[in-house]
Symmetry: C2
Subunit: 219 residues, 2 copies
Amino acid sequence: MTSDASLEPRWRRLPEERPRQILDAALAVFAERGLAASRLDDIAKHAGLSKGTIYLYFPNKEELFREVVRSSVIAFIARAEEFVAVEPDPIKALERWMDGFWKWLRSPVFHALNRLLTTELSSFPDLQAFYATEVIERAQRLVRGTLERGMDSGVLRRMDPLVASRMLSSLFVMHGMWYHQRESHKSIAHIDPDVLFEQIRDFYFTAMRPDVSGASDQR
Amino acid sequence: MTSDASLEPRWRRLPEERPRQILDAALAVFAERGLAASRLDDIAKHAGLSKGTIYLYFPNKEELFREVVRSSVIAFIARAEEFVAVEPDPIKALERWMDGFWKWLRSPVFHALNRLLTTELSSFPDLQAFYATEVIERAQRLVRGTLERGMDSGVLRRMDPLVASRMLSSLFVMHGMWYHQRESHKSIAHIDPDVLFEQIRDFYFTAMRPDVSGASDQR
DNA sequence: CGAGTAAATTACTGACCAGTCATTAAGCAA
DNA sequence: TTGCTTAATGACTGGTCAGTAATTTACTCG
């Protein structure tokens, strides 16, 4: 309409930014419709590009998917590392982990990634292996270490730390998933996320409180 | 080859059994590939039929999917009802519920249904509503009642029973999901399901054991 | 400014698959 | 056995979409 608008180029050359844009758009679209139902044209439109452009940066749909998962998983690891405070008090360290974890679980990226992983991962053994070692085992090792410190110092009851870490994850991850499905989980829908967090945290620490006999320090 | 074989009809008329056969096959195929990636030809082959036959019993793919979910969910409810023992002792009642629930969670049907629900449910508001009221709320009400009885009689610590039931479900459902993803969850892979069950049950009951101080008031 | 090149677009093709329908065959009844 | 009903088949069609390639457009540098 105006001369300003007519001087604007229809599109710009941004080879540096394209991969990131495409991956972000692809994650969103894949998460909503699944791998098979996602059309490359939709991803392109979502990224404000044309389909052909995607093929300049990724060889095909499947490889784009691989890269989406890989990059998201790596982002998760990076973030997980942040949660791990260099905190001598194991209870405080756990609380910081829980807090960071809960924030992550409520993010759209977790929701998207989780949906993709639960459905498509079995078709991609390489991604599955990557996820198993680089996310699950790594995160578990991290939490387990803190839990062991808590048990050694007597602020947590003694039990298999691997089991203890699995229980912790169960509670948080499941609530994270429900949080994103509030439509079907009405009992969660109206509860403030922070309250939800406290419920989970308190429940866990109650389960882990030291045995009756040594009632020295309680949190 | 033999006269016996040549006398066998190429196919049989079984109008009574077809719908069930098709639904079973469809659940299996949908669960493995998702709605969009599942080909009607595959479902037909899986059921030992031709594609055309499916269209004699279901108007289209989407409606077949709806019916698959509906019938599976109804089967779940029926089964859930079985778990609820008419057991006066709330602890024993809970244990029976846990046992039945854990068996169900480990079944292929749960795995299939769960995958479908997490991915496709958002596109089917009617199914979502059905699932919310007929499964989640109903099951929750059931467990909550038993928990309340346990709290009243003093064998369980007092807390919001709705929260207590959510925590119970979290632990079991999440472990159920991991059980079906043992490939990615190596720490679970080598553990006997019964041991896993005991770990979850014990953890939960420890979390719910009555407070240290007031071990007196029993009714 | 052009001329060159790299980025992005768009129109196209071939494969795939949901849904249809004309044909075949099973089973039944007389 | 024959003829009728209807279950079941499978070849076919039309639309959709991944991937390609010819073309256009933005940018750069002499």
